[in-house]
């Protein structure tokens, strides 16, 4: 009995010892990198970059942790609260201000050499600058645009709309095509508010007014939402938008069941893979008082708690080499954030990507303000009440604006 216990203990001690010796933790500097999962290609891509980096720097080991977007913020929150924060992470730029104001993000100006800084497109660098300090680097960018199903447009005898009046009349014509819907309107979960901002911005409104208060109580916002509500009521959208997430609406488009949707570039690879026969065209959002699109960036952030900032930065510089950036942007369907990649012929010759990139000069970004998620949720609640007919548009918007001003303490 005792003998067997002793034997078992000896065996496990040996196992522990071997695991220790075999572990790369032994002598190398460990850099922990949390990666947001854009698609199934994201994890393998970063593993490849890390492997190439480790080949040149045998004394550094990069630990890649791939986390889905839906749980990323929660994961980072618990990691930070538990003192287990990674050294670098991809985050949504809209969260950066929260990280920066809590002293969790490390300003990178002292690491950023002028040559390295000049590789970035300024438009995408700007959202990461908070109070004059660069708190992170743009890692991914996309702009939004309208997709129309050209087969359905031909069937309805309608032309692709350039402004909101045309958009409405086109929708009316599309409605006549049986078994399809004219306009796919998102009303559920993540980015329900973004679907509304497209209309808000092109109608001349904005998320925040010049004085920093909510822009939801403006006539432009009312106009933007009333148009959506009118289209719901007249059957120009799919029925009950509050049951349709972004993916649900895009699925309808892939199935050829909806004439017009507002979307991101990442839908294009999906269409090519899942619905190769679908005939579509990428167009700018309908114009109202203004031209606009939603520019979205993600940020690569260095944690102030990191003990290995120098090594982490070395890896960051490596990962921004042109060959890696090209592979990343092409693979995920993003717009380039570095000048050299943007200069590639691909971004002007490919009609789909060019269609999305065309909006960049007048792209609007989500404001970098604290409590953004809560503000977005307040907006979504108001929109859902309006779409469902539970509240009058002007009242719901005014109430939401008041709530948002309270959250912003304005």
């Amino acid at each position: 009995m005792t003998f067997s216990i002793r034997k078992a203990m000896a065996a496990s001690a040996l196992a522990v010892g071997m695991a220790w010796a075999g572990s790369p933790a032994y002598a190398k500097t460990q850099v922990n990198f949390t990666v947001a999962e854009y698609s199934s290609k994201t994890g393998p891509y970063f593993e490849e970059v890390a492997a190439a980096f480790e080949k040149e720097n045998p004394d550094i080991h990069i630990n890649i942790q791939v986390v889905p977007w839906d749980t990323l913020l929660q994961r980072l929150t618990t990691d930070i609260a538990g003192g287990q924060a990674p050294d670098i992470s991809i985050i949504g730029t809209r969260w950066l201000v929260d990280f920066a104001s809590q002293g969790i993000a490390e300003p990178v100006d002292s690491y950023l050499t002028p040559e390295f800084k000049s590789t970035f497109i300024d438009t995408f660098m700007a959202p990461s600058v908070i109070d004059g300090k660069t708190m992170g680097l743009p890692v991914a960018a996309s702009a939004r645009a309208m997709l129309v199903n050209t087969d359905l447009l031909d069937k309805a005898g309608a032309k692709a709309p350039a402004n909101w009046d045309e958009f409405y009349t086109t929708a009316e014509k599309l409605k006549a095509v049986p078994d399809t819907f004219a306009f796919g309107l998102q009303g559920k979960e993540i980015e329900t508010d973004a679907y509304f901002y497209y209309s808000l911005w092109t109608h001349g409104g904005d998320i925040l007014k010049g004085d920093g208060t909510s822009g939801l109580d403006t006539p432009e916002a009312l106009q933007a939402v009333t148009l959506y509500k009118k289209m719901i009521d007249e059957g120009l959208t799919q029925p009950s938008p509050t049951n349709y997430t972004r993916e649900d609406v895009f699925n309808l488009f892939k199935q050829g069941k909806v004439g017009m949707v507002f979307t991101f570039p990442m839908l294009i690879p999906q269409i090519k893979a899942e619905a190769p026969n679908l005939k579509y065209k990428v167009l700018p959002f309908p114009e109202g008082k203004a031209k606009a699109t939603y520019g979205v960036t993600d940020t690569l952030m260095l944690f102030s708690s990191s003990q290995v900032k120098k090594e982490a930065w070395k890896f960051i510089e490596f990962a921004y080499k042109d060959e890696w950036r090209t592979k990343f942007d092409h693979g995920e369907g993003f717009l380039p954030v570095t000048k050299n990649v943007a200069a590639e012929k691909y971004y002007s010759s490919d009609p789909d990507i060019a269609g999305f990139a065309a909006g960049l000069p007048y792209a609007k970004f989500a404001p970098t303000i604290a409590n953004w998620e809560e503000i977005a949720d307040t907006t979504v609640r108001a929109l859902q009440q309006i779409y469902l007919g539970q509240a009058k548009p002007d009242e719901a918007l005014k109430a939401a604006a008041a709530d948002i001003n309270k959250i912003r303490s304005k």
Partner: protein, 303 residues
């Protein structure tokens, strides 16, 4: 007085270490939660200083808290009530001997083997307005002519979620009841049958009273599970549309991990804990008093 109820110290001392261990495992998180709820907590869980009851007063001024609380009560009562009403007949049926009973028992237990989140994901897909299986089936049978958007409006979505909640609670409750039924004394039934009792009377006057302790256990445990249950509502609607299906636990999750208000979330969490604690104590006391009363009655009858 002292001599009459001499406390046996040795056994108590022997229990003490494991009692302390249990208390530290159970008690520490609650104390930590209570401590957190009285702090200003940063978005990322750093304590920024003691603020007393500010978090609580914020919770009590929040209209969404009250509507979530009301919905939590509806959700708990409806799911637990529905589960009990359905599980008892199922358990009685499964307790009878019939051909294929083993298979039937396995089928009833199966939903238990699937994670709650997976079940909820499955229902979310099935209930999808255009691509869902439920609408397709109903339309094939010509029961409905237009697809129903099950999760588009709050009242319908909440009803559907309650039904799913009942479905996933049935296996556990049926198991408790089956255990109870198989332990019931058969001679009472035989005696009653000899006296000419009908099946309904057997159920009403023998099964139900004898099953009371098991029903009570099922109520307490189910209330605790259902009251705290996040996955079904979170996966199917995230508490939407327009917070119309939010119960306390989904609201608290949103506050903590979306909005980063960990202090306020801790306060709600502590309130939920107190509600459950009070409910459990009150219910156990009530049950104990009832048993005490009926025991008294029996003594009187005997006299």
């Amino acid at each position: 007085m002292k001599s009459r109820t001499r406390i046996p110290t040795t056994p108590l001392l022997m229990i003490l270490p494991s009692f302390l261990l249990a208390m530290s495992i159970i008690g520490y998180p609650i104390l930590d939660l209570a401590w957190t709820s009285m702090q200003e907590v940063s978005r990322f869980g750093k304590m920024m200083g003691f603020v007393g009851l500010v978090n609580f007063s914020e919770v009590f001024r929040d209209p969404l808290f009250y509507s979530s609380l009301v919905r939590t009560v509806i959700w708990t009562v409806a799911v637990v009530g529905g589960t009990l009403i359905i599980s008892l007949p199922i358990a009685i049926m499964l307790n009878d001997d019939f051909y294929g009973r083993g298979l039937a028992r396995v089928i009833v237990m199966l939903p238990w083997a699937i994670s709650l989140t997976m079940t909820a994901v499955l229902w979310r897909w099935s209930l999808n307005g255009r691509a869902g299986l439920i609408n397709a089936t109903l339309m094939d049978f010509h029961i409905i002519s237009e697809p129903i958007e099950w999760l588009a409006t709050a009242p319908l979505a909440f009803t559907v979620e309650i039904l799913v909640g009942i479905l996933v609670s049935i296996p556990f409750t049926t198991t408790i009841f089956l255990g109870g039924l198989s332990s019931l004394p058969q001679d009472s039934y035989e005696a009653a049958v000899v006296d000419g009792a009908k099946p309904w009377e057997l159920f009403r006057y023998i099964t139900l009273p004898l099953m009371k302790p098991f029903i009570n256990i099922a109520i307490v445990l189910n209330v605790i599970y259902v009251f705290n249950s996040l996955p079904i509502i979170w996966v199917m609607t995230e508490g939407g549309p327009a917070n119309g299906t939010d119960i306390l636990v989904t609201y608290l999750y949103k506050l903590a991990f979306r909005f980063g208000q960990l202090g306020k979330a801790s306060a709600i969490s502590l309130i939920m804990f107190s509600v459950l604690f009070v409910f459990t104590i009150a219910y156990v006391l009530m049950v104990m008093r009832q048993e005490h009363d009926s025991a008294d009655e029996e003594v009187k009858h005997d006299a």
